[in-house]
């Protein structure tokens, strides 16, 4: 085994569909025969499994994909072991290696260089820079004087299992909290479409706090949990539709 990946996007999608239980019987048979005969395909398959597991941890799968992956792959001891490893690895990468945002538009400095070549633009640019610097100083002053505004963002999906049953909570570093936690809760598909959700924060010490909904769309409800309600420990968010609690909890730990 080894070498550079040769899988096409179409084949990668087939593996993904297979893992979600969405492939038709003929394609499933064909894929399984490749698993039994092609060493290079085995490696590609494993790579896609890792990528899908990462997406599961980061809550990037659709409802159907998530459910399909949970009922097959993740229902096994092997799948749970892989999930735990992926969760730790992604968390470690986030805490140890994140230094600054990625530059998503390369070529900016080339553009600036070209712009600066224009003699007629220099004066206007200098004046604009002065205004920007003054504005920047004002904004920095304002942000310092009005306190922290940064919320640690965490995407959560509902789990009907509890921690003892193997549910893996999201992890938030206590040191990363400034204003608090902004939790984006994915609404279970069967519960979508309502307008009157309510969210409650339950601490490991059984303390309970009703939270205001900061944002709400078809698929998610966002709440901002102020840092004053958070200590190191385990938390669960419960979501209610009118007065009925939706089954399951959104789990996270402050470490």
């Amino acid at each position: 085994m080894g070498g550079v990946s040769t899988i096409t996007k179409e084949q990668e999608n087939e593996v993904r569909q297979y893992l979600f239980g969405q492939l038709n019987e003929a394609d499933e048979e064909s894929l399984e025969l490749r698993l039994l005969t092609e060493p290079s395909f085995l490696e590609e398959f494993d790579t896609v499994v890792d990528e899908v597991t990462d997406q599961y941890v980061r809550n990037e799968l659709s409802g159907d994909e998530r459910k399909g992956f949970e009922t097959s792959y993740l229902s096994t001891a092997e799948g749970q072991q892989k999930l735990r490893f992926a969760s730790e690895l992604l968390d470690r990468a986030e805490t140890e290696r994140r230094v600054s945002p990625v530059v998503t538009k390369p070529g900016f400095f080339d553009w600036v260089g070209g712009f600066w070549q224009s003699q007629s633009m220099r004066l206007a640019a200098t004046a604009a820079a002065a205004v920007i610097i003054a504005g920047g100083i004002f904004l920095i002053y304002k942000s310092i004087s009005s306190g922290p505004v940064h919320y640690a963002v965490v995407n959560l999906s509902i789990s009907t299992a509890n921690r003892a049953e193997g549910a893996v909570p999201a992890k938030v570093k206590y040191e990363s909290l400034q204003a608090g936690v902004e939790a984006k809760l994915t609404i279970p598909e069967s519960e979508r479409g309502a307008t009157d959700y309510r969210v409650k924060l339950v601490g490991g010490d059984r303390s309970e706090h009703d939270l205001a909904i900061a944002e709400h769309n078809d698929q998610t409800v966002t709440v901002k949990i102020p840092v004053s309600l958070l200590r190191r420990g385990s938390y669960a968010l419960q979501i209610f539709h009118t007065d009925r609690r939706i089954s399951g909890s959104y789990l996270f730990d402050i470490e």
Binding site: S5, L36, A77, Q81, F85, L89, R92
Partner: protein, 193 residues
């Protein structure tokens, strides 16, 4: 694995007259069966893989002479049967053939501690590569991987493969470490009782 040497030799010969090639084919079939069983939601995939291989070995004297086609196809059929049988067992929930229960997942702190230990075993550049590769998600991840590949002067495909190999070894190290710690804890607990 319960297979004895002589029938196993016959299986290898059926896979390929060349012993080395037969061994390689066997390893691929075995690895593929494990993937299939896990993907179908069967815990302890290695047990079911051994079961599939045992069934093929037992049937071999009957089928060998008249069988036409790739032996992998026969293994596939046997694997399908095992998946179906397992599904039926789960449906009727009979206790005649109980479903093998998934073992308790290890405590998260063990995995975290083992990940730290295993990362320390890697050279610095590989530690950085594996962590950097898994840093972002969505569009940011795509751009980040392009940048990483460019810095290493390799293609994105080569980067993906390199990261995968590192991850496989790291995961293996972590699983072995967690297993070792679990055994040690059990030993300590049994001594203290």
């Amino acid at each position: 694995m319960t297979t004895t040497k002589e029938p196993f030799d016959a299986l290898l010969e059926w896979l390929d007259p060349d012993r080395d090639k037969a061994g390689q084919r066997y390893e691929v079939i075995r690895a593929g069966l494990i993937r299939i069983f896990v993907a179908k939601g069967l815990s302890d995939a290695e047990h079911y893989t051994d079961e599939a291989i045992d069934r093929v070995i037992k049937k071999l004297p009957e089928i060998r002479a008249g069988y036409i086609g790739d032996p992998a196809r026969y293994f596939h059929g046997v694997a399908r049967n095992i998946v179906l049988e397992s599904g039926r067992r789960r449906e009727v929930a009979t206790d005649v053939l109980p479903q093998r229960a998934a073992p308790e997942p290890p405590p998260r702190s063990d995995t975290s501690e083992c990940l730290s230990k295993c990362l320390q075993l890697l050279p610095r550049d590989k530690q950085e590569l594996i962590l950097d590769y898994h840093l972002y998600h969505g569009r940011e991840k795509v751009v980040h991987h392009q940048q990483m590949a460019s810095e290493l002067s390799i293609t994105e495909g080569a980067l993906r493969t390199r990261a995968h190999h590192l991850r496989v070894n790291l995961e293996k190290c972590v699983n072995e470490c967690v297993g070792y710690q679990g055994k040690n804890k059990s030993a300590v607990e049994s001594h203290s009782n």
